[in-house]
Symmetry: C2
């Protein structure tokens, strides 16, 4: 019987992380994943998504639990404020992707993290989505991410964020764009 | 005393919606909004965002409640599965933005909705974020949105989705990209 001693840093099991990378190197087809959200309209601008399963490592997988995420517009935008707005979920997705990534990168590099917080802000001129100006885009004009971090020396921390940004799925999609197709079926 | 009779369709107060559009037309500076998410790293790939306030109509505004959103990676990706993954939040943001928008568009056009559900799927090859291939991008290769809708006639419903897509903040950002700046401060 072989026992493996696992190294854990910043809450990341780096032994498992490197073993996963080795497994994917040996079988690159394990790296193909498909993620999914299933949304149901409730009323007005209120709707909710269920997040439960995904495909990866050659099989259908389930999260440990199913999550329901409510979205709505605030009262000032004629909604009922039953949940965060869609664009706030997008800001959260960006913060979360960069933060999960930097924790992995730091652990892999032997860099210790103490505290990591970030604020992500997006400026949007609603003349775009209201259809009141052809010169204003629908989305955020820009997004600003501000990290505050403590742990090992500041230069190492900065490089860890830089590497996370280089390998962030959400940062890539937001800055480079992604093809989206929309299909409608009656039923 | 003047009383206004409000018209509500699909749960959307169209009287208030048109009044809001008129108010913004008269004072376009009311349309400048800033949305925000504040994220805190917990451990490993687990982190959480707080969504509570935003700026709009010339003032700081608060949601009716603060929301906390947990994000994590699943066990198969060496996380603890304490919440949806960042990319699943992004899929939810897209579904929610298109669905909130189409409810508004339908109400404004006098189109009745009965049921609206959608599935949003994104295919991602993790060789990109793992740094194991220079030819694979970090984000989804493509995103597929599938709506199933009932209500007024299918052609009207299809046009309502089309218009929502034309005016969706999240669809715009994902397909056209958005400038993102990342700053790190020690502390």
């Amino acid at each position: 019987m072989t026992t493996t001693q696992h190294t854990v840093r910043n809450g990341v099991d780096t032994t498992a992380l490197f073993a996963t990378l080795d497994a994917v190197k040996a079988n690159p087809e394990l790296a193909q994943f498909r993620f999914r959200a299933s949304n149901t309209w409730v009323s007005g601008t209120h709707n909710k998504s269920s997040i439960d399963g995904f495909y990866g490592t050659g099989q259908d997988l389930a999260h440990e639990q199913a999550w329901t995420l409510d979205a709505d517009h605030p009262a000032v935008l004629v909604g009922q404020d039953h949940g965060p707005t869609p664009v706030e979920y997008l800001l959260h997705a960006l913060a979360a992707c960069l933060t999960s990534g930097l924790a992995n990168v730091a652990a892999a590099r032997g860099v210790n993290l103490d505290e990591v917080t970030s604020t992500v802000e997006g400026d949007i001129n609603l003349l775009g989505i209201f259809g009141l100006s052809d010169e204003v885009r629908n989305g955020f004009e820009h997004i600003k991410v501000s990290f505050r971090m403590s742990g090992d020396d500041p230069d190492k921390l900065r490089k860890v964020v830089e590497q996370s940004r280089e390998r962030s799925a959400v940062f890539d999609m937001l800055t480079n764009g992604v093809p989206v197709t929309v299909k409608v079926t009656p039923g």
